[in-house]
């Protein structure tokens, strides 16, 4: 089969062969004449500080950034298209692979959207466990951010300490879900398995020791004059720009907008938890660092509340036509066997309609938009990932600053290219 050749008409017909990304950058939009003194340099796609395969075309005047354009798509695997060819329950493992630093958050966002389409009631125990593991995922993701951000700027030691704590968390995830990273733990209707009995004590031990580790990171970094000078006053983003450019999550709160999906539009029972939302008015790389360091401590608070208030009960909703029966029932009851066979071979129909779920992921607001046409496969799954929008603000943050500051700014917006390119 050959693809249909289409005439591209309209405003998009600008020379498709042009690879000069800067040609469309902010300087050209403002019609400023090109300057003989500037130089265009290529940063990435294989650059250690871009946290993945991100290509930045940077126009510099000496060492000052004049214009910049991110070029993405190197990791595009067409996950949204693949979702349309899978049953609803088969999409869950795909969502892990979008943002590999917060798989449980992705699972949760997708499952919330499908549960909204189905109108499923989730048992309270499952909701508490979802909150618990989402907050542990947030800590884990922020640890990777802090380690790599510090390493980019030259504070190599912090990276080793961050990954030491991350290892503890990954071991907990492995004990709970059977996988360190691609957990697929949250399922439509609840959770895949009951966590092992001894895991709660391990989580408590981790949470007891963790605040001291945060103090340790702060001690290592905030007494370091190089770290302070590289962060303070760099990459300023005003609250107006943050909203106009679609920035969410910690960078938005560091610019002074007090909005957190967990508190303001609660999902999965977050309304039952008491926590503060750290906000800063400074708006630079330093403010984003401070906000995330506070979030470590708030996440610990939420995890402890989830452990203390964890109710007894089921971890799966009561919907035999949607949720796989347990093995015991399947082997003893005819109906359960039929349901199991039907769910595995032909999936389950979801009432037609559309639903949007929104969660506060470690990197910002993550939305899943799922459209159903009544069949067992989603008609359309769209992910609104925080990094995709935040990347647009990069030029605003870097313009007029030194080239070396670009590295600090990329670290501060905490992007994962897997979620941007999908």
């Amino acid at each position: 089969m050959t693809p249909p050749v289409e005439e591209i008409t309209g405003p998009a017909a600008i020379d498709p062969g042009v690879d000069d990304v800067v040609a469309n950058s902010a300087r050209n939009r403002q019609n400023t004449p090109p300057n003989d003194q500037t130089m265009v340099i290529n940063m990435g796609p294989q650059h250690p500080s871009t946290h993945g395969v991100l290509r930045l075309v940077v126009e510099v005047d000496g060492e000052t950034v004049v214009a910049m354009a991110p070029d993405i798509g190197y990791l595009h695997t067409g996950i949204e298209k693949t979702c349309e060819a899978k049953f609803y329950q088969q999409v869950v493992p795909l969502t892990d692979r979008i943002d590999y630093l917060c798989p449980m958050t992705n699972n949760l966002a997708y499952c919330l959207a499908v549960e909204k389409l189905l109108g499923l009631e989730i048992p309270e125990r499952a909701q508490y466990l979802r909150v618990l593991f989402n907050e542990l995922t947030r800590i884990q993701s922020h640890l990777v951010w802090l380690g790599t951000h510090a390493m980019d700027i030259g504070a190599l030691t912090v990276f080793l300490y961050c990954f030491r704590e991350r290892e503890d968390l990954l071991r907990i995830f492995e004990a709970v879900a059977g996988q360190r990273m691609m957990t697929s733990y949250v399922r439509i209707g609840g959770l895949s398995v009951e966590p092992p009995r001894d895991i709660y004590e391990k989580i408590r031990t981790f949470l007891k020791n963790f605040p001291a580790h945060v103090d340790e990171y702060e001690g290592l970094l905030q007494t370091n004059p190089i770290w302070m000078n590289r962060l303070k006053g760099v990459g300023y983003l005003s609250p107006e720009d943050a909203i106009a450019l679609g920035v969410t999550g910690p960078p938005l709160r560091a610019s002074g907008i007090d909005f957190d999906v967990r508190r303001d539009m609660p999902y999965s029972g977050y309304e039952k938890f008491q926590f503060n939302v750290p906000v800063s008015n400074i708006g630079d790389v330093w403010a984003r660092y401070i906000v995330r360091m506070q979030e470590f401590r708030e996440s610990v608070k939420i995890c402890l509340q989830a452990l203390d208030g964890l109710p007894e009960g089921h971890i799966m909703a009561d919907a035999p036509k949607i949720i796989l029966p347990n093995r015991e029932q399947m082997k003893t009851q005819m109906e359960s066997l039929i349901h199991h066979f039907k769910i595995v071979t032909e999936g389950f129909g979801v009432p037609a309609g559309e639903a949007t779920s929104s969660v506060e992921a470690p990197h910002g607001m993550m939305n899943y938009y799922v459209v159903s046409d009544g069949t067992a496969k989603p008609y359309r799954v769209h992910m609104r990932n925080p990094g995709f929008a935040t990347l647009q603000a990069l030029e605003t943050m870097c313009k007029g600053r030194l080239l070396a500051d670009v590295v600090a700014v990329i670290g501060s917006i905490d992007i994962v290219l897997g979620e941007i390119d999908r």
Partner: protein, 163 residues
């Protein structure tokens, strides 16, 4: 379980059921159809009105554009459904705007003049669905290579691609 009769459909029914909603108040003129389903408000606007609709939403307090995406209803017409999710930080709620486009007129105005963040979102829709956005400052492919043929998220594009 979801009860299909709980959905409120039609402009008149929705506007009568939610008279206090800020978006409903702002869209009395602009909306051509409305739906309130699963506690989510969807307003349909005409293709020509999208910029006016964006401004109306912004003035009603919906200050944050979350995303722009599309759904391909091939082979039925109107084929493309462009979906805008707009959030209000102060009201703490979102509204979904929908524009339906026929396959022979798959283009509409860009809303980058209202929310610059629409830049990447609209490029993505252009790249993967082939819908044109008039007045967009930099309408080029974003995910696929520049010389790619076809638009992968269209329903008539095979999942395995062309071999």
């Amino acid at each position: 379980m979801y009860d299909p009769t709980s959905a409120i459909k039609g402009k008149q029914a929705v506007f009568a059921a939610l008279p206090e909603n800020a978006a409903v108040k702002a869209f009395a003129e602009l909306a051509t159809d409305a739906k309130f389903d699963r506690a989510e408000l969807t307003l349909t606007v005409a293709r020509e009105d999208i910029i006016a609709a964006g401004r109306a939403a912004q003035q009603a307090g919906y200050n944050f554009l979350e995303d722009v995406t599309a759904v391909d209803w091939y082979p039925s017409e109107p084929r493309f459904q462009i979906t805008y999710h707009i959030l209000s930080h102060s009201l703490k709620e979102r509204v979904r705007l929908v524009v339906r486009l026929d396959s022979n007129a798959a283009s509409l105005d860009s809303i980058t003049s209202i929310w610059p963040s629409a830049n990447f979102y609209e490029r993505e829709v252009f790249d993967l669905f082939g819908v044109h956005f008039g007045g967009h400052p930099n309408l080029r492919r974003i995910m696929m290579p520049e010389d790619w043929k076809g638009h992968p998220l269209r329903k008539d594009y095979p999942v395995e691609g062309y071999r």
